[in-house]
């Protein structure tokens, strides 16, 4: 059995777990919850083996030593590792807080990340390391960055749930904020899925993706009619989400999750992720850049965007400690922080060029 078969099984397990978690929320039967957890654990174990197997496959091909064969070298592998961290983080939370409702929110993120891999037709082949990546810093830098990203993702989902529960009126800024953020998320993902379904191409490099395919099936279509309809649908969708968002509130309020627990998980995730991100993402990245290129900081887009994300989370921590910000205000900061992280991770590689072009979908 090779690693891709195991990855396939893990993906199916997560999607199945997502459905069962939602069923569990609807019926609140403990047995269903146990089944959901069991399937998630099975998916997690399978994925762990898949990652280790890919590591070995990479080691056999690359012949560069075990530390330089870590499967963290391209967008596909890093997304897989991100999902792995996210599920691990979730399982820890489920165990600590003895609450399964949250699973219905985390497993979809895992599922979406894995779906994103297939929707964009990302290259899944193992490629040997280019010279710039042949360093032992690769393992520490990338692994810690993704551990931090997944804690930020957890904070994002709890903060979003917090906003959904706590907002009352449609005219409230926090309510408008979460409906629009969530709406844009879904619209972008939907548009990318549509691109893939229309063109059925595996994207080889970001330039081609941006110029020829990104949103070409919808917003940037050559046909004015298609483009216009796409924009109307997108705006209408966000409007409907805004109009009927309170239904989601009813669903989530049905979970046995108090806003206090959500706020606590948001803070704790960030408090764990922030130092890891600072050390592994920024400091180790700078040391590595210093070794490879002779500049520890060159203001390239990837570095600059990670610094911006870092500012956002530093702001989160300071406003909480110094100003005693609580509740909705700080939840918005956590959501914005993760949007910046996503841009740092995907947007920079896909939309902006820089020294870090090795992370692209080549």
């Amino acid at each position: 059995m090779d690693s891709s078969t195991l990855f396939g099984i893990a993906t199916m397990a997560y999607i199945l777990a997502m459905i069962i978690y939602i069923v569990y929320l609807a019926f609140k039967k403990p047995q269903i919850g146990i089944i959901a957890t069991t399937i998630t654990v099975i998916g997690f174990i399978t994925q762990t083996f898949a990652i280790l197997l890919r590591w070995k496959e990479f080691y056999d091909i690359g012949k560069m030593g075990i530390l330089r064969a870590a499967p963290l070298t391209n967008l596909y592998e890093s997304l897989v590792f991100f999902v792995w961290c996210l599920i691990l983080g979730y399982l820890i939370i489920e165990f600590k807080y003895k609450n399964r409702s949250f699973g219905a929110f985390v497993t979809p993120i895992a599922g979406l990340a894995l779906a994103f891999i297939d929707l964009t037709g990302m290259d899944k082949d193992i490629h040997p390391l280019v010279p710039a990546l042949q360093s032992n810093w690769l393992l520490a830098h990338v692994m810690m960055s993704f551990i931090a990203y997944s804690t930020f993702a957890l904070a994002f989902s709890t903060a979003l749930m917090y906003l959904i529960i706590k907002t009352e009126k449609r005219t409230e800024p926090s309510y408008i904020f979460w409906t629009i953020t969530m709406g844009i998320f879904i619209v972008i993902l939907g548009a990318m899925g549509l691109d893939y379904l229309t063109y059925k191409v595996a994207i080889k490099n970001p330039d081609v993706l941006i110029k020829s395919f990104l949103f070409k099936a919808s917003f940037f279509s050559n046909s004015t009619a298609v483009s216009l309809v796409s924009w109307i649908i997108a705006v209408a969708f966000i409007f409907l989400l805004w109009r009927y968002g309170y239904l989601l509130k009813k669903v989530i309020s049905g979970f046995s999750l108090s806003p206090e627990i959500l706020e606590e998980i948001t803070y704790k995730s960030i408090a764990i992720g922030f130092p890891i991100f600072t050390l592994g993402g920024l400091i180790f990245g700078a040391i590595w850049a210093d070794q490879a290129w002779g500049v520890y900081w060159s203001w390239d887009p990837k570095e600059t965007w990670s610094l911006i994300s870092w500012f956002a989370y530093a702001f989160f921590l300071h406003s909480r400690f110094l100003r005693g910000w609580k509740g909705k205000k700080i939840a918005i900061v956590a959501v914005v922080g993760f949007v910046l992280v996503i841009f740092t991770y995907l947007g920079v590689n896909l939309l902006l060029s820089g020294l870090h072009s090795y992370g692209s979908m080549e």
């Binding site: 710039a132 130092p275 700078a286 002779g294 500049v295 203001w299 530093a314 702001f315 110094l322 100003r323």
Partner: protein
């Protein structure tokens, strides 16, 4: 009167720099301007940004927008005066904020823990109360031992009216973690500033077989004027010795240094030579596996270091580091390069052969003459017509077209490819290996001298420690009252932790169950 007014003004400035509002404004402006800096390509060809602006805002608006952005310094914004000013404001804010808060925190850190009055026990986040058999005199030892065993605290005690109060704290110094983190940011900024003022960042494109004793700055005026050439030649002729070079030029050493600075020529203080450069590819693909330069350093006529550098393996000498950063073909390099072959005869005897482009050589032990007719740095064959063509400018797949003559008649010939041994064998069992073209490529070295980098590393190290303390360690305090209650003891515990309260509470719970169990055991 005058003095008081004066003080008020200074206080106002102080408050301004210590304010969180300034911090927020600085954070936001750093973030927002940085975003613009990642969209506009920095230090790029104006054409590229013009095209980008045209794409975003339309063709007609692009030129004027470009001019606006350029005059504001956005084309090299991270080095513009206003961005540096924001960074300095950030540093000032950090320093003054820290000084402002430090006395209060130091008091908490340094002051010894004191016993609390009875009513203060009500307000604790972690509060426990239970009764033990025996009076306080008897239970005191059991309780303090249990606390020591479970939490590791060394307790102080004080006699009270109706019993005792035990109290202790741990990790009071962890409150300084935040300040270590903030301080480390300043250390990093200091290191960066030292690097900017006393360091050098440049490059050197070093052809195979050439020696240089200078590097070039990217910002210097690189126009290859006659004067530039004259100075460079003089410096290289005297192997980097500026005293001799200034004599050659007939000027004094100081004005030579000034001129070198003007032209962006940086004296290394030693000489560096590229003995060879090579790109390794993964098997037959065009995917690079390693870029390698064989470098040797000469100081005062003596060779001091020889090292093969790679992308993650730079060479360092006298505080100057050479990084492998690019490579390319030297103009006219093929015509001037040496084509290296290894001829292996049927009986296994091998011999090295050097030849020039267009030149001929005799195959050892035969009467065959080989003539180099053509060369391609990256030879490919068109799939449809099978015609040879050059598919890249770099040496991805070097190949020579050789014709073999005997007595003036062309016998056979064809392309010999460096990366394909199957093209090396000649019809009669002879092997002619194409080893490479020496002297045709240059290695692109990034040259850096940064005396501030160790300060930056030190700052990073301090930041890691500071963050660990700030996020994963906490200041924990405990107060325990032992109150006499008709020959039994009422134990009242109040405890606090500034971080991760739950973990501390779990410890206290363990302590309580431990104590109440011994009570039952004692019955």
């Amino acid at each position: 009167m005058e003095k008081e007014k004066d003080k008020g003004f200074i206080d106002k400035i102080w408050d301004f720099f210590a304010s969180i509002r300034l911090a927020i404004v600085v954070f936001a402006s750093l973030a927002l301007t940085s975003i613009i800096g990642t969209v506009l390509e920095q230090n790029a060809d104006p054409e590229r940004n013009l095209r980008l602006l045209a794409k975003l805002f339309g063709k007609s608006a692009a030129p004027s927008l470009f001019n606006i952005f350029e005059s504001l310094g956005f084309m090299d914004m991270y080095h513009s005066w206003w961005f540096v000013t924001i960074l300095m404001l950030f540093a000032a804010n950090l320093i003054i904020c820290s000084i402002d808060r430090l006395p209060k925190i130091l008091k908490v850190v340094k002051d010894p823990i004191k016993p609390l009055s009875e009513d203060r026990f009500k307000g604790f986040g972690i509060k426990k109360e239970f009764v033990l058999n025996g009076g306080p005199e008897k239970t005191k030892g059991v309780v303090s031992e249990a606390i020591k065993k479970v939490t590791g605290f060394n307790l102080s005690e004080v006699k009270e009216e109706s019993g005792y109060q035990l109290y202790s704290q741990k990790g009071n110094y962890t409150r300084l973690g935040v300040y270590i983190t903030h301080f480390s940011i300043l250390v990093i900024l200091l290191g960066a500033v030292i690097g900017i003022f006393f360091g050098f960042k440049g490059f050197l494109n070093l052809p195979e077989g050439k020696t240089y004793s200078v590097a070039f700055s990217r910002t210097g005026s690189m126009s290859q004027t006659q004067e530039f050439e004259r100075i460079l030649n003089a410096v290289e002729a005297s192997a980097g010795n500026l005293q001799n070079a200034s004599k050659l030029l007939g000027i004094d050493e100081n004005s030579l240094r000034t001129m070198m600075r003007k032209f962006g020529i940086f004296p290394l203080g030693f000489s560096i030579r590229c003995d060879m450069f090579n790109v390794d590819f993964y098997s037959k693909s065009d995917m690079p596996k390693a870029y390698r330069s064989w470098l040797s350093v000469t100081k005062d006529g003596k060779e001091v270091i020889k090292k093969i550098i790679e992308v993650n393996e730079p060479l360092k000498y006298e505080g100057i580091t050479f990084y492998q950063s690019s490579y390319g073909l030297v103009p006219g390099g093929v015509e001037n390069g040496i084509f290296r072959f290894r001829a292996i005869s049927k009986d296994g005897k091998s011999e090295e052969i050097n030849a020039r482009f267009g030149g001929s050589f005799t195959l050892p032990g035969t009467t065959l003459t080989a003539k180099i007719e053509d060369f391609s740095p990256a030879l490919g064959f068109d799939q449809a017509t099978n015609r040879p063509f050059t598919y890249a400018k770099q040496m991805n797949n070097p190949a020579v077209l050789i014709s073999f003559f005997e007595g003036g008649n062309r016998k056979f010939g064809g392309w010999v490819l460096m990366r394909y041994p199957e093209t090396w064998s000649l019809p009669d069992g002879y092997t002619l290996e194409f080893v490479g073209v020496w002297g045709s490529q240059y290695t692109g070295l990034q040259v850096r001298k940064d005396p501030g980098v160790w300060i930056v590393y030190l700052g990073c190290f301090a930041m890691a420690i500071g963050l660990f303390i700030a996020f994963f360690m906490s200041h924990r305090r405990i107060w325990v009252r032992l109150v006499d209650e008709r020959h039994n003891t009422r134990v009242i515990i109040g405890a606090s932790a500034n971080k991760n309260k739950q973990a501390f509470e779990r410890k206290i719970d363990t302590l309580v169950s431990h104590l109440t169990k011994t009570k039952e055991g004692g019955k």
